[in-house]
């Protein structure tokens, strides 16, 4: 099989799984399943990044998103589950408006996409981009990079502050 055909097949496979998992996120009754669906979506998107020769982004996606964020979500789900609740509620509201409106929006976007001049030609792969990203991060984007470091630190502290439980005097021991 020609390499390009193989890539196309992989794209269709990952695209299908992305959409499938995303549907699960959007519509599954159980919140835990929704979170797991998000994990699937993120993994599939990570694979698509791989297909797009964005190796660094793909790895970041898997490590940070799938490894970090989704786990965080699952913790969040379990921590906010009331003991007496058997299933975590995942009721939805407004769906009979939101879904049609979403479909209209999708139609609009698709129409815009299809009527725009988007180059269809294949561009030769630039090869692995990790080195280029590294140079960009420590070169042109050094300031944003450092700012993000500070932001992450602030977030760390902020999250601690927000989420810590007030220690009541009698609990202190």
């Amino acid at each position: 099989m020609e390499a390009r055909t193989l890539k196309d097949a992989l794209f269709w496979a990952f695209a299908t799984s992305t959409v499938g998992f995303a549907l699960m996120v959007a519509f599954h009754q159980s919140l835990v399943h929704s979170a797991l669906g998000l994990m699937g979506t993120l993994l599939s998107v990570g694979c698509l990044y791989g297909l797009l020769d964005a190796d660094f982004v793909a790895v970041t996606q898997v490590v940070v998103y799938v490894g970090g964020v989704v786990i965080l979500f699952l913790f969040g789900v379990f921590l906010t589950k009331r003991i007496e609740d058997v299933t975590v509620t995942n009721r939805s509201v407004n769906w009979y408006v939101a879904v049609p409106v979403g479909l209209v929006l999708l139609a609009v976007i698709l129409y815009a996409l299809l009527s725009s001049p988007i180059p269809a030609a294949e561009v030769a792969a630039a090869g692995p981009t990790t080195a280029a990203i590294g140079e960009a991060l420590l070169g042109r984007f050094l300031l944003p990079f450092e700012v993000i470091s500070v932001v992450l630190l602030a977030v760390l502290l902020g999250a601690l502050l927000l989420a810590r439980r007030e220690v009541k005097p009698e609990e202190r021991g």
């Binding site: 996120v25 959007a26 929704s34 979506t41 698509l48 964020v69 913790f75 929006l105 976007i109 999250a159």
Partner: protein, 102 residues
Amino acid sequence: MHVTLLHYLVLAAVLFVLGLVTLATRRNAIGVLLGIELILNAANLNLVAFSRHGIGGVEGQVFTVFVIALAAAETVVALAIVLAIFHHYRTVEVDRVSQMKN
């Protein structure tokens, strides 16, 4: 028909709309956050796809990395708030937490 940039853009559009629908319909605050993640991923997918197809250079991917970092930060803070709300109200359903109203 080979896969082109357009395919990725369409896929991202679908992902985006699904994210929006999730955002709009979930009653649970964590569900709302899941929707936001989907939307961010749709944007990221666009960025990487453009970058791969020669529109903009490596910047698209750099940007994606930034977005992932910020999404992680946003999730952490949002979940911390959700936890705080849960401690306070014993619920995380967004339409029930309405003390700031009026």
